[in-house]
């Protein structure tokens, strides 16, 4: 099941999250938008680290992964991303 969430972040940036959920497991997370993440590779590693985990653990895990040391975000906070992922998961499960 696919779910999406589009969130306008105060300050003007836009977060677009897409998730794929399969029987309670998060299969894929894609966080798109006009934010900045340095280094970009660490952001994508955080994104990838979320696939294969139970959806109930996803928001907390997302917060941890996107808050990891060495990853700087501008235009969206780890909490913004975590919230958007949670909403996208809710949307996937409501279908």
């Amino acid at each position: 099941m696919k779910g999406r969430c589009v969130e306008k972040i105060p300050g003007g940036k836009l977060l677009r999250v897409e998730v794929e959920v399969e029987v309670g497991i998060l299969r894929r997370v894609l966080v798109r938008g006009d934010f900045f993440a340095h280094p970009e590779e660490l952001f994508e590693a955080a994104e990838q680290a979320l696939s294969g985990i139970p959806v109930v653990e996803a928001p907390e895990m997302a917060l941890e992964k996107f808050s990891r040391r060495g990853l700087s975000l501008f235009g969206a906070t780890p909490r913004d991303i975590c919230e958007a992922i949670r909403k996208a998961i809710d949307a996937a499960q409501a279908t």
Partner: protein, 270 residues
């Protein structure tokens, strides 16, 4: 401290991005000195930020139909319609005075040169963190003092750090064609398009409108060069030294254009 100054003129989108990356890898390997480069886009183009979805942001068919290039940048940020504008890119090693560890501070230091260049043209400009420069239209009674947080965006900038170097590129608008821009960007609801066009007109401006006269790429390049030179000379003792791209950079830039920036694998990767 010297900074090589290049003026590459007009090139297609894939080559513009390819040359930025070629300069990055040459500076990183110590084959080229730290570099500031000016360029523009021909044909016109839309670039998307690294983390954006190309098809989510852009009507790719409309771009093809209008002969407008599309490309994904290595830098984050939003979609940009590159039309009447001047683009710059700068590559310096991390630790250089323009590339302190604090990313916001490096935006501020680099953009200080742009702000000074714009002021030299008679535009009341100011850095607006994270990554914009705004201008106040004195003819319309706007001023920095009277309108804090106001002003219209005249420049957008985007930075990445790779291979031990900082790459920042950005544009200064000469003119704004909001109608064409919105015919190329996907808008969430067609009904809202007119309102979005009005909002964009209220938020974005170009040098020609601010100055009330015509101004081209060459004059803008001269003005920005003077601004970078003055601001960075004063603060960090940096001297701009006109130079040319090395044959290796040109060859590698063309290779990046061909093998990366004109491929679907890159442009549609997210």
């Amino acid at each position: 401290m010297r900074l090589r100054l290049l003026d590459s003129g007009a090139m297609p989108a894939a080559l513009n991005m390819g040359l930025d990356e070629a300069v990055l890898s040459a500076v990183s390997a110590g084959r080229s000195p730290p570099t500031l480069r000016f360029y523009r886009w021909e044909p016109r183009a839309v670039s998307v930020g690294y983390f954006q979805g190309m098809t989510e942001e852009i009507d790719v068919e409309a771009c093809y139909g209008a002969g407008i290039d599309t490309v994904r940048r290595v830098t984050g940020g939003g979609a940009v319609f590159h039309d009447a504008e001047i683009t710059y890119s700068i590559v310096v090693p991390e630790g250089h005075p323009l590339a302190p560890a604090d990313i916001l501070e490096s935006y501020r230091r680099i953009c200080a040169g742009l702000v000074e260049g714009l002021r030299g043209l008679g535009v009341d400009a100011a850095f607006a963190p994270i990554n914009d420069i705004v201008a106040y239209d004195s003819a319309r009674g706007e001023s920095r003092g009277g309108n804090p947080g106001g002003g219209k965006k005249v420049s957008g900038n985007a930075q990445t750090r790779k291979q031990g170097c900082l790459l920042q590129h950005g544009t200064v608008l000469l003119d704004v064609d909001v109608e064409t821009m919105f015919s190329l960007l996907k808008v969430p609801k067609e009904k809202l398009k007119d309102k979005m066009i009005e909002d964009a007109k209220a938020r974005v401006t170009g040098l020609r409108s601010l100055l009330g006269r015509d101004l081209g790429y060459a004059e803008a390049a001269k003005a920005l060069e003077a601004g970078f030179s003055a601001a960075w000379g004063r603060a960090y003792g940096i001297e701009l030294e006109p130079g040319s791209s090395s044959p290796e950079e040109l060859a590698e830039g063309a290779a990046f254009a061909r093998e990366k920036y004109s491929t679907s694998a890159w442009n549609f990767r997210r």
